[in-house]
Amino acid sequence: MPSASNAAPPGGAGPQVPRVAVADLTLAYGSSVIQRDLTFAVRRGEIFIIMGGSGCGKSTLLRGLIGLLPPARGDVLFDGRSFCTADPEERKRMERRFGVLYQKGALFTSMTLAENVALPLQEFTDLAAAQIREVVALKLALVGLAGFEDFYPSELSGGMQKRAGLARAMALDPDILFFDEPSAGLDPISSKLMDDLILELRDSLGATVVAVSHELPSIFAIGDNAVFLDAETGTMIAQGNPRALLAESTDPKVRAFLTRGDAGVPAR
């Protein structure tokens, strides 16, 4: 929320402290290192893109950021406070401040859309049932799904499931929204609508957005800042505004990615 994000975060850190800071992070499954030595910062109210070709570890990095994959080395800091070394209570408090939209929505199939969105509200707030219904209706209206309260996820198209997943991710008014491939699998128009929705929500809610994406139009449309992950070297090889990277980057891999291989280097 705008007011919340202007105020000093708990812990007394000033507004110059980045919302999310990744410090020397190395992610591995067992002994196979996926990405190493990642260091970057996401400022408040920014839309930050994690980009790179398929299989470079974008989604793994996201899993590391939201705590699903404990890092092999390094740390993730939210508002300057360590997330990876936080005790379970504090970790829960931090987790409640972020919302995650999974690649396929990850809606609970045995619940209706309304029940899906209501679940975090029921569990983490003391709102009355009637108020929860209002909030749920509002959240669904925000993602363009007004009137779909009683539908089950299996009755919806992929794009609608994704938007419903977004409504659930926003249920608790998170400060940080994580998106895993927000526009993947959507047709160009739905994909554009999703981008507009992300921009609109960021502007009106003041939330910080971290999105994994490899969809160029979407990256250029919404990205304020980005890191480029490389599968071969297993680390980040570029950082900056995607449009600026397109104009200025001299790295052949980054250029090939951002120009769909037209830069004379075989793509991916």
């Binding site: 209002e134 007004a146 009106s204």
Partner: protein, 376 residues
Amino acid sequence: MAERWQMRVEHPVDGTALVRLSGSWRMEDRLPAVGEVQRQIETGRALRRIVFDTQGVTAWDTGLLAFVSKLREWGSAEGIEPDLTGLPEGIQRLLRLAAAVPPRKTGRSDIRLPWLARVGTTALAAWAGAAEMLTFVGGAFLAVLALLRGKARLRGSDLAVYIQECGASALPIVTLISFLVGLILAFVGAVQLRRFGAQIYVADLVGVAMAREMGPMMTAIIMAGRSGAAFAAQIGSMQANEEVDALTTMGLSPMEFLVLPRMVALTLMMPLLTLYADLLGILGGAFVGITMLGLAPTQYFHETQSFLNLTDFAMGLIKSVVFGVLVALAGCLRGMQCGRSSAAVGVAVTSAVVTGIVCIIFSDAILTVVYNALGF
């Protein structure tokens, strides 16, 4: 208790209500209901406009958004259009966004059908279900015929995997259950027979009960819970994942590719497992006979041997083949009927086990009556 939010309704001009909000308007602040505003608006005056002043609001979230949206809803029902310009910029944008896509008339109705109509709908659904089941059984039968005529392909590697899955891998659980069933039967018999000094007949009782009834039935129930459920889960998740569709479009019949090997494997393994279960059950009975009733091992086995004949075992084995076919069919049928979600897979598995066990008991009753009529 002092609230963290404050609200005052003023009437600066006749016909205008100024809703002045200040303090913290977040979800956890126990925000007021819209009725509070209605109460504060002076009655008896014609209200034409609602305006907001939110300069004193220090923090807000969806709580304020829901409040304003509800107020607006009430306003438009009363014919008053609230003027939103006094609200925070973010709220105005979000309200516009929420109104961007009009609520869809989804055509859902919660009207309860009359009693007769519900009976009719249920009956039609049951009929459709029965037709679907018959179609499936017919399809499976045709596939078996094709296999026998050498027209259907049975992938050997698949068959081997299923044979291991529902044969060798089931041995530990079948061992445990059959041994215990034999033991229980012996206990029940011993209590009665000891009163007449006829302990030795425990051997006859356990032997005949295991061979004709309990061996095949317990094995079948274990396999319904083990393999029937596994078949439904495997095929069901393939169905949910569109893999069955992929098979069909490749020109491979799901019936041949998925159902046939499972059915053949289970039908082949059931009699073997049943024989094994019979033996273990008799051992369980012998354990009780020897340790509790003081019978000599040779005595017990001699009695069993002289009382049982091959017909008893054959009767049990015929049953076990029938059970095997039924359990495999129930598992595969429920898997093929599975919907396209992960929840549907769970439903399919439950349904496969229930259907399997009902079929087992039902066919067992029929077969027992038939055997009796034929004099076996």
